[in-house]
Amino acid sequence: MLLKLTCLIPLYPLIGSIINGFFGLKIGKKAVGFIACGSMILSFLTSVLVYVGYLMLPEGQHVYEQVAWTWFGAGDFIVDFGFQIDPLTLVMMFVVTGVGSIIHVYAVGYMQEEFSYYRFFAYFNLFASAMLLLVMGNNFLLMFIGWEGVGCCSYFLIGYYFEKKSACDAGTKAFVVNRVGDFAFLLAVMYIFNVFGTIDFTDVMHAAPEKLIYGGEIVTIITMLLFVGATGKSAQIPLYTWLPDAMEGPTPVSALIHAATMVTAGVYMVVRCSVLFNLSPMTMTVVAFIGGGTAVMAATIGMTQFDIKRVLAYSTVSQIGYMFLACGVGAYTAAIFHLVTHAFFKACLFLGSGSVIHGIHGEQDMRKMGGLKKHMPVTYWTFVVSTLAIAGIFPLSGFFSKDEVLYHSLMDGNIIFWGMGVSAALLTAFYMFRLVFMTFHGESRVDPSVHPHESPKVMTMPLVILAGLATVGGLLGIPFHHWWHMHILHSWLEPVLHFDLASALQHSEHMLHQAGQHAPSWTHLLEPTEHQWWTELLLMCFSLAVAVVGIFGAYMFYIKRPDLPDKFTEGQWGLDMVQNKYYVDELYDDAFVQPTIEGSKLLWKECDAKAIDGTVNGTAKIIGWCSRQAQTLQSGFVRNYALFIVVGFISLLLVMF
C-alpha cells in the first residue's frame, strides 16, 4: 500500500543531511547540491504517492496512522514514534516538500560561491526533515521534537556567517526568544497529559469535548500556553523581535525557514489543536487580538525600513498575524489557505530579493538600488506578480486568501478585527509597492563600480515556478463556498476541523451540573451565522479598493513625487518611533536582557566566585595544610622508620594486654 511509504518522507532529507554533513567536503559541490535537491524532490514525490494512497482509503476513514516504533513508555504513558496522515498534514507536507524543493534548487545557484556549501545544505536538509517530523508526528511530543529541531536548524542557519558578530547575535537572539515560547509549549503538553492521560492527537482531540468544560479554566490555560508557544515560533507579539534580525542568514534560509515553513508552524499547531481552541472563547479572542495587532504593527514598521530583507521580514510577521487573526475568529480554513498562498508568494519575494542582492553584489539597502528593472527582467516580473499577490489584487492567490480572512473576521468576529485586517491590508499594499518602486524603478542609485546582472537560470527558474504558484494558488479556495461548494480547501480540511459545538456544550452543561454548578446560557452561540453572498462581494470590492489605494499611495510617494516622503515625515515624532521599531528591542533589553546580565554578574561574582569557589578551594587548602604537617614524618632516615615500627608494636601490645 502506498501509505506505507509515509515514514520515508522525513527520512530522505535526513539521509541527505547526514551524507552532506559528514562527507560533503570530499564529494564536491556538484554532488552536495545533487544530494540535497534530490532528497527533497524524492520526498516530494513520495508525498504525492502517499497522497494517492490516502485518496484510496475507505470511505469514512480520515486519518492514517503509521507507528514506526514505540519511542518510550513508562506505565500507562506510552509515546509512539508514529506518523499521521490526514488532510491537514498533507497540505503542510506539500508546502514543505514542494516549496522546499524549489528553494533547495535556488540555493544551489545562490550559494555557489560559498566555501562551506556542504554545511549549508546539511543544515538545510536537516531543517526539512525536522519540519516534516513536526507536521507529520501523531502526538504532541513528536511534534515538539520537530518544533525544537526546526528551531535548532534555524539557529544554525541564521548564524551561518559565523564570522560576522551580528549574525551570531541574531542567531542567539532567535534561539533564546524561541525558548520562551518552547517552554510554554512544553508546559502545555505536560498539562494535556495530566488532563487526558495521553498525548496522542487523535485521542486528545476526540476526548476534549467530553472532558473539558466550555470556557473553563483548564482549557483556557492549556490553549493559552499553546498559543504562547505559537507566538514564539511564529513571531507574534510579544515574541516577534527575533524574526527581523534573523535576516542575517543567507536568503534561501529566509525564504524557506523564516517565510514559508518554520514560522508558520505556530499556525499549524493552533489549527491542529482547533478543538481545544474552540472550547475556549477567551483564548480565541486573545489569539485574534494578538494576530490583528501584530498584522498592523509589523506593517507600520515595514513601511519605514530600508533593508530589503527586513521589509520582507516585517511583512512576514504581519501576514502571519493575519493567519492568527483567522484562527482567532474560528476560520481555520482561511488560516491554512493564507498559510499556503503566503508560502508561495513570500518565498518568491524572498528569493527575488536574494536574486537582487546577488545581482548587485551583496547590497541590501534599498537606498542604494533603483532602476534595476532593465537589468533583471525575470526577477522584476516575478517579483511584481508576487507583490500583487501579497497586496491582494484580483485574481492572484493573495486576493482570495486575504479576503477570506477579512470576511470571516467581520462575520465571525467583530468590526474591530476587520478594521485591523483592512488597515494592515492597506499598509501591506503600500510598503510592498514602496519596496518594488525603490528597488526596480526610478533612477539607479547603485554604486557605479557595480554592474547589476540577472541571476543564472538555476535561480530564475524557481522564481518563475513560485510566481506561477502565487498566481494560481487562489484556485484552492474559490470564495462563496457556502453556496456553490467550490472551496476545495474547505471541503478537504473539513474532517480535521469538524467540531460539534452543540454536543460539546451539552457535555459541559452535564459536567457543570455534576459539580453542582449552574451552567451559563449558551444558546446564543448556537445560532447560525448568516452568510450573504453580496456581503462577501462587497467586502471583496472594498479590500480591493483598499489595496489599490495603498499602491497608488506608494506610486505617489516614490515615483511621482520622490521628494514627498521627506517633506511628509519632517518633524514627525511618530515616524522616529516607528523607524526605531517602537523601541521594543530597547524595552526588552532594559526589562529582561540587562537585568538578566546584571543578575548573572551578581551570581558570578558573589555566589560563584566567592561562595562556591571559596568552599572548593578552601577544602583543598585545608587538606594541603594537613598534608604539609604530616609530610615531616617521612624523614628519609631508615632508623626513624624503625623507631616508628617499634613504637607502633609496643603501643599495640599495650592496647592488647
Partner: protein
C-alpha cells in the same frame, strides 16, 4: 636433668635480652653493617625462644620453624649485603644517615 636446672623463663629472658639488644642496635647505630648484624641478632633471639618452647613442650614444630628462619636469614643476608654493596658503590660511605633522599 637439664629441665630441672635451667627453667624455661631463663631461655626466654635470654631471648628477650638479645632481641632488645638487636632493636637498640638498629635504632642507635649508624653503620649499615652493624644495623644489619643487629637484625640478625633479633632473628636469632626469636630462634632461641622457638627452640626452647619446642623443647619444653616436646614438640618439633619450633625446630622446623627455626630452620625456616635460618633459611630466610640466609636469603636476607645475601640480598641485604648486595643492597649494601650497591649503596656503597653509589656513595662511598656506610653511614645510614647519609642515605635520606627517599622522602616527599
Amino acid at each position: 636433668m637439664l629441665e630441672e636446672t635451667v627453667p624455661l623463663s631463663h631461655y626466654l629472658m635470654l631471648s628477650a635480652t638479645l632481641f632488645v639488644i638487636g632493636v637498640a642496635g638498629v635504632l642507635i647505630r649508624r653503620n649499615v653493617i652493624v644495623v644489619f648484624m643487629s637484625i640478625e641478632i633479633m632473628l636469632n633471639a626469636v630462634n632461641i625462644s622457638l627452640i626452647s618452647f619446642d623443647h619444653y613442650m616436646n614438640l618439633s614444630n619450633g625446630q622446623i620453624f627455626s630452620f625456616m628462619v635460618m633459611c630466610v636469614a640466609a636469603a636476607e643476608v645475601s640480598v641485604g649485603l648486595a643492597i649494601i654493596i650497591a649503596m656503597h658503590r653509589n656513595k662511598p660511605t656506610v653511614n645510614l644517615d647519609d642515605f635520606n633522599l627517599l622522602k616527599w
